[in-house]
Chain length 560, copies 2
């Protein structure tokens, strides 16, 4: 292959993962002349809604751009098993034409389980390291890295235009528990052979120094368990298998039975157990319903819900809604995770609740070595840059502010600012003749998933939910006869608007307002829709004047 | 070459550098069967005397072990240009049979200058990186590293028995000023091909994290210079060319003329200038005798003496003994170095003196970013271990306590304790059939150099100097006639023993004691040496009883 083959162009298209931290999905498109030849997709993850995205369970990447190009998709390569990298697969896999997927061992297991739920057939290969895979004229090679989940990889994307280093979520952990350190030789060898562009995890770029090794947490678990005379609870992300295993190892040491609680925690630990990634002697395995029967100091409960999610196992325990597991004095709860920005309130409320029940709650504000981030700090990123020594940089996996900070970090190292390309979702970069330039943007939107389906929620729905959440709603029903005349006084129902006691008077006045409006129309409703609108506007104005609020107003006119 | 060639043995012999930090000299001896075949020497540095080694200017390695083996010495490889790695060459080079020497560019220049002083002829090659050099059946390859002096290297020592990684003084500086970062690819490639033993710099193993980059100091120089309205003084080790260059660059920015003071500082800066390692516009170069004529705020003086050495340029300025350079109010003195353990008193005394003269003194206790160690901290060492992934470890360049701490650091990473070999000077390690074992010890002693010569100072001299330094001396002279009879009262001289005023009485009593002793011998001295001894013992006892001190007592009997 000729490195500067003039007839080829490689285009990098992020469908997610460059503005928010999650929803990672990236396209590498190889063009011959102007003709699209091969597409390789890296990751297909879900996004987590902001607090202002009401009632949304999750967000998935918008793949409408790919609709007419599925015949060019050669493969989906998966970097690791976190939800924000694999979580959207069940929604999109078939629409993408069910292309072959490649993943490391644990990632493969997680993906398989995910599809089992959906009952779909998949084409999924467990990768070998240090091996080139060919996908048309694109080649890919997986590099063993370390992160907060085992079997994390970086991916080299080699094309006739040059080689790109896809350096998604990682840290350089020199003492990773239960696995080998990153394959530094492969990383530097890639740099030695020449990297056109480094795509680098940028999430940790505000933190100085190197990230702590995951293994520091194991010692903390032991120390805390030694001091605990009641039940020992630990909560973390359910995908953090190394963290969970370190807790299990401490439990084994102190002869405590291990109970997994919460659906994601049970599923992931089961997958990891099947791969021998989480060995637990049978005698130390127990179930939720055994808890009440066992001595508290013989129990280690590993529980989902570290982000304070309302429906999580831990929140339910804190609210005394679990019939087997109660908090009693002497119990300890370890939060081995930091609140994701935006979740602080929920997490602290959960901590309050658990403390109220008598638990001794330990979290990162009061004990530093409870959690090691899975993402590299500044020095990790600087090492990756020096190892690969690329011509261009694209920060990924961070927000806009992380991208800017990454740019600063690299320019401080002496790289030129214009070589560090910060992108918005859908912004593309074209590599051609040894240089990079910004290509046109690909249109994307957020695809929302809630309990009822995918993608049928537009901005209007979200705005309504926002209104409901702040100002409540009022329903007004008018019943009219065939002559268009009111048969009863207008009926009002409301939720989340004003206190019940104050309602009656307010709605009486509202009713009078409607009657007044009808009088103006000779006491008859002729144009039902026009009347709905007018009544809605009248009520909106009236409520706003009276209460300073704009509840969602639904007017219905029933003809009998 | 067969990696496990049974007929070969490689022996590692440290002639220095394993107990103290300095005096680095290491032998790699290749044996075929029991026959010594090839010796490669790495470094030949000087040691710096302890405070208890009185009057000693420096220490050099003891090469007497090599006396009958010079025909096997194939080469001397030099890792970098610091005195403790090259300083003993002029003393030993010829005795070692003038073997070929190999060094990087700046190191070569430093070594050449050193020999110019001594007027000797040398065989010295500037190395190329990424190239194997053959020395009999040993091959060597230099790897570009970073440290506090440019052109620092690590050396791969490849033999039929396996490859050793000689990792002397280094840190992983990702943003080294004026040079490229370490050659990570070469380091990891070495690890990939298999390292039998890593010899690792261990000096920084008590410090957590990564070592700061040298480049942080440049910003500090600028910030401090901006705030200085008088003369700007900077002192550091005179071999720290990158540090000096950063200070010069700040001076250029603020249009201050640069003056180098102190012999070593002038010599090293001259050598660096010749290699374009220290570019200074002619208009900004000035000499010591110009200082009084120039406005203080147009001066930057880079001065030797950062360790508070009594005879150094900086100490003389502080004692007002420099006729051109005086401290005045508004001057600033930057100590861009930490006191070497043992030198604290001298350094703080110098700081006091400079402050007394009105200088604003800035040193590492009050400003953190004034100095970046040249030696890696714990994380640097851990990275080197992971990159090279050796079977055995030998910590070098540290004291015994650093060796132990290095051992702890590596065992914490999961390496087995017995694979980390801590050595005393002369202790050897034999590599054979893929394993390492301790070999017999090679006898070494300290070879002291003072103003009068090399190696003629034994332990007796040092003990005397110690006595003199603590208890002073007393000379007692007896003058006798040909009959052996005293012609005058015994005469006493003393230095550093007791106050003059108290002496007279003490010595009068001493004289009476001697007369008493003579009476016992019928008032005559027959056995001069016997009498010297007796009088010496008498006086020693007497002075000890009277004063609790044991001065060095010299008795002389003069016959007239």
């Amino acid at each position: 292959m000729n490195f500067f083959n003039n007839t080829y162009k490689l285009r990098f298209v992020p469908l997610g993962g460059v503005v928010g931290v999650t929803k990672n999905m990236y396209l590498y498109e190889l063009y011959k002349g102007e003709t699209l030849q091969d597409i390789v997709i890296v990751d297909c993850g879900m996004g987590f809604p902001d607090a202002k995205e009401f009632g949304i369970d999750l967000i998935i990447p918008d793949i409408s751009y790919l609709a007419d190009k599925t015949d060019k998709i050669r493969a989906i390569l998966l970097t690791h098993g976190h939800e924000d990298h694999i979580g959207a697969l069940p929604f999109h896999y078939q629409k993408l034409g069910s292309p072959p997927m490649y993943a490391s061992k644990l990632t493969k297991m997680f993906v398989s389980n995910k599809f089992k739920e959906f009952g779909a057939k998949i084409n999924l290969t467990e990768i070998e390291y240090r091996k080139w895979y060919a996908f048309g004229d694109i080649q890919a090679r997986f590099i063993h890295l370390t992160h907060s989940i085992p079997d994390t990889t970086h991916i080299l994307i080699k094309s006739p235009v040059g080689t790109l280093y896809h350096g998604s979520d990682f840290k350089f952990d020199l003492t990773p528990p239960y696995t080998t350190p990153p394959d530094f030789y492969e990383i530097t060898r890639a740099g030695e052979e020449g990297i056109m562009c480094l795509l680098s995890d940028s999430l940790g770029c505000e933190r100085e120094g190197l990230t702590l090794s995951e293994s520091i947490v194991g010692q903390t678990f032991e120390d805390e368990m030694r001091k605990t005379r009641g039940k020992f609870f630990m909560t973390t992300f359910s995908s953090n298998i190394s963290r969970i295993r370190q807790c299990v190892d401490a439990a084994i040491k102190f002869n405590r039975k291990v109970v997994f609680m919460g659906r994601s925690m049970r599923q992931n630990s089961e997958a990891a157990k099947n791969l021998q990634y989480l060995p637990i002697p049978r005698s130390l395995q127990a179930k939720e319903h055994d808890v009440a029967k066992l001595p508290p100091n013989k129990l280690c409960l590993i529980v989902a819900g570290s982000q304070g999610q309302f429906d999580s196992a831990l929140s339910k325990i804190a609210r005394k809604q679990n019939k087997y597991v109660k908090i009693t004095a002497g119990d300890k709860v370890i939060f081995s995770s930091d609140p994701i920005p935006g979740n602080e309130q929920e997490v602290y409320a959960l901590i309050e609740n658990l403390s109220l029940q008598g638990a001794d709650v330990v979290y990162s504000d009061i004990q530093e070595q409870l959690h090691a981030s899975g993402h590299g700090n500044q020095e990790d990123m600087k090492f990756l840059a020096r190892f690969t020594n690329p011509k261009y940089f694209i920060p990924i996996g961070g927000t806009i502010r992380h991208q800017r900070q990454y740019q600063r970090l690299m320019t401080d190292m002496g790289y030129k600012e214009q070589t560090i390309l910060t992108l918005m979702e859908g912004d593309t970069v074209v590599f051609e003749k040894g240089t990079a330039r910004r290509g046109g943007a690909v249109e994307t939107k957020n695809v929302y998933v809630d309990a009822y389906g995918i993608g049928d929620i537009g901005n209007v729905v979200l705005r309504d939910r926002q209104t409901l959440s702040s100002d409540g709603m009022v329903v007004c029903v008018l019943v009219i006869d065939t002559y268009g005349q009111l048969t009863t006084t207008p009926r009002f129902f409301s939720r989340g608007f004003v206190f019940e006691k104050k309602e009656d008077q307010l709605f009486d006045e509202g009713a009078r307002l409607i009657e007044k409006r009808l009088k103006g129309a000779q006491g008859r409703v002729t144009d039902v829709n026009g009347m709905k609108k007018s009544v809605g506007t009248d009520l909106e104005d009236f409520f706003y004047k009276q209460r300073g609020r704009k509840p969602l107003i639904l007017v219905d006119i029933i003809e009998i």
